[in-house]
Subunit: 482 residues, 2 copies
């Protein structure tokens, strides 16, 4: 199956069956997304009633395409799908994505129709995503074959989702938050390829560094456990489990037909396999950032550096909520900071910079904490790489103020901010401990080696990321100790 | 005290003592913020060494101002503050905001200096914010006297915060999320005016409809309880408590000198008084939106309407986590929806619109759930008022596509989306039950009566808002039942 999925995710030619010139139809939106996404290989629209779609020659059926077809994406109405698959099979198409719905999700008749198309796909040895899928993405061939008009950036995370909507959101948010996507599949009804197959494939895929799954139900729990146990020593797996509760389980039964497993069983299974469980799509994306941007923490001791006392207090609360240790400040650090900070500084962890405006001091203090063996990670609070816009003042303030001078000063402060952040990221790499920054969110270019840089708006999110990384690192160390 | 605070928050003239022409000093930033914020009354910069600041005549000392002064904002270095206050007192200034730090937060000597200025302020009967405050805001006179360059929109919420940074963030985020600010105070060291004084004032202030507090410690717990008990039957109070844990409590002791009260004691006190406790600044702001935008829910039964099955599943999970009931769909609603939805729809709550693209159906289904007496609130998932930008396609798609037609279609879809959202908000008001919308966030103009409209990116936030509103409504009903 892994080799077949390799073709599916790296097609040299794609047929779009059910292509259309009508803007509001998936038959238009999906090929439009593929073209906007920059797919450079061959795209063949298929529709017996059209001549040209999106400026491309249209073929009446797949078997009329005068070329090999690695992947056929099918959006035709359900009753036509069996004939389309039969035609694909005869043509020698290598893999299928069936977007079309109206199969097992609609009841018994649909289930029978689904059995039929699965049997056809298998007869011709074509792995099939769906039916009732929202599409797939594979950024190494720039293939963006989705319902949602968005082109994600390329990166280390691969995702499979038993909900197209939830998966699409995870993918978009992750990309927007600097962690680009490698592969994505909306698994749909999983008539053929199941969540376990995607997991196995992502596990051995050298392009995939982090795996995220949205799961409502798993048919073969034993296989899932074995796969996860093989993968988590090498790559983190983040799982968002829908249907954890009685109400959610009922909804899941109606949505994907997932059997409601006991929450406790799922949660202990995830823990046992070293899987990191997330509870919201935002956690999935935040945890992915932690794994993509930071080294794993050697332990649970956190140093908190803050520009505002209240932020330090809240962060310490969140750390204790999550079982992280806000360990006391070692004497040498106290002595060192005594030289930098005003005489009345907190002398404790959180280290409160007491409204110091000097960003260099902040960076220096942060590096000091990072270097110290007392701490396994650092949270830096109060980062603002783009302070005060002089425009805010320009409208109401008289000419007596030299706006040019103000702008130059602003630019200087802002550049200092960003270069400090980059120095901190470099120091993080050097000391092999995570640093999570909190402050005014800003879009920053990644580091030269591609490491994303985020500034989170809320310390709670920083603490949850560290907590997820600590849990994963502890799992990895527990294996090494065996 | 209430009358004095009234002058403080509605000054007809403001002196800025320690004003400066240096851009990086608070003596420049704060008056610049006041002018940018549109304060129309008199602003008098005070500095013995300057002639003009921000285009205004500068006075050497407050007593040299040839006019009454309702409020003096002081940013001079700490050693000069007593003389400044003495001068203010002799001049007959009515109220003070002391931004200057280096008082009780720095240790014993600072505490003595603070006692001295408090005694002086009281001698002259001037209520004093701070010292070590980040400033105050009062939007009815457009007074924005803060360190952070931002002008909030006016609205129903008043805030007091024992952390300037946390408070500023709550204010900015609330304003950005459509819930404008009425009054704000960074309470600083609370040498004179305490968190209880602000609470009492906001409680009786007709301009304030919702109160939010960031608290690390309360000196007079008994007074706080009595005040809160008097206010919560009329206005919601949202409290973010910093220092809930051992680690956070230690940090709070170092930050504001707050004594670590037991978490359990605080939480039961809040519950007892009908105070809604938030755990993050985002919850404060989200809860404020709920109270500002929606009627209180008559009970805990939630209807979930969704465009994607996975969203419904996650929302049902969150509801059960928070003790809300995802009650079954009544037969008449099933029968009605049978006419609108495809034959295989879920026939349960969550109601899954099964990828229906028709927004009118979505709005109609939502109103049907809202009307039904089975439900006390509705969560609507999958709102997108600004779908597909045609620009996404324009760069890579050949000219065969009529971009003008596409744009016209987009505009039509988008307008239909926004008008549906407005109809839903109107129906919410009519049926006196809350509706929280989740989808792609969009900035929407408020309703004609000023009600804000938000679309939340995550169903968890919607559920937490409903849960806070349910708790508050149940408290109010429990009082009425007595």
């Amino acid at each position: 199956m892994n080799d077949k999925l390799d073709v599916l995710f790296h097609p040299k030619s794609v047929a779009l069956v059910g292509a259309s010139n009508t803007f509001s139809k998936w038959g238009f939106i999906i090929p439009a997304c593929i073209l906007s996404g920059g797919y450079q290989d061959k795209l063949y629209p298929v529709n017996p009633k059209e001549d040209t779609i999106l400026g491309r020659k249209v073929y009446p059926q797949v078997s009329a395409i005068p070329d090999e077809v690695d992947l056929a994406i099918i959006v035709t109405p359900a009753p036509q799908v069996p004939a389309v698959i039969e035609d694909c099979g005869r043509k020698g198409v290598k893999s299928l994505v069936v977007i079309t719905s109206d199969f097992s999700e609609t009841g018994e008749e649909g289930a029978k129709a689904e059995e039929e198309i699965v049997a056809l796909a298998r007869k011709y040895d074509m792995p099939m995503v769906g039916p009732n899928s929202m599409g797939i993405v594979s950024t190494s061939p720039s293939l963006y074959a989705m319902m949602a008009p968005f082109t994600p950036q390329a990166g280390p995370i691969s995702m499979a989702s038993q909900s197209g909507n939830v998966g699409t959101k995870m993918m978009i948010d992750s990309s927007n938050q600097g962690v680009g996507v490698n592969k994505f599949a909306s698994s749909g009804n999983e008539g053929d390829i199941t969540i376990c197959d995607y997991l196995e494939y992502f596990g051995q895929d050298p392009e995939t560094k982090i795996i995220a799954l949205y799961i409502e139900g798993i048919d073969d729990g034993q296989r899932f456990i074995e796969l996860a146990k093989n993968i988590t020593p090498k790559k983190p797996i983040i799982v968002l489990k829908g249907g954890r509760t009685r109400a959610g389980g009922k909804a899941a039964a109606s949505h994907t037909g997932a059997l409601a497993g006991s929450t406790a069983v799922y949660e202990s299974m995830f823990r046992q396999c070293g899987i990191i469980q997330a509870y919201t799509t935002q956690e999935v994306v935040d945890f992915a950032y932690g794994f993509a941007a930071c080294p794993l923490p050697p332990g649970r001791r956190v140093a908190i550096l803050t520009r505002g006392g209240g932020w330090g207090v809240l962060s310490a609360d969140f750390c204790e909520d999550m079982g992280l240790e806000v360990s006391p400040l070692p004497q040498p650090v106290v002595e060192h900071l005594d030289k930098v900070l005003p005489p009345y500084w907190s002398r404790g962890n959180p280290v409160d910079m007491v409204a110091t405006l000097n960003l260099t001091d902040f960076g220096d203090a942060l590096k000091l904490l990072l270097e110290n063996s007392t701490y396994d990670s650092v949270i830096g609070l109060g980062i603002s790489v783009k302070p005060v816009s002089p425009d805010l003042f320009s409208s109401t303030i008289p000419n007596s103020i030299d706006m040019e001078q103000m702008q130059a000063m602003q630019k200087f402060v802002s550049d200092a901010g960003e270069s400090q952040v980059r120095e901190i990221m470099t120091a993080m790499k050097q000391h092999q401990k995570p640093v999570i920054l909190v402050g005014t969110p800003a879009e920053l270019e990644p580091m030269e080696n591609g490491t994303p840089i985020n500034i989170f708006p809320d310390p709670e999110r920083a603490v949850h990321i560290l907590s997820a990384m600590v849990r994963y690192a502890e799992y990895r160390r527990s294996l090494e100790a065996q």
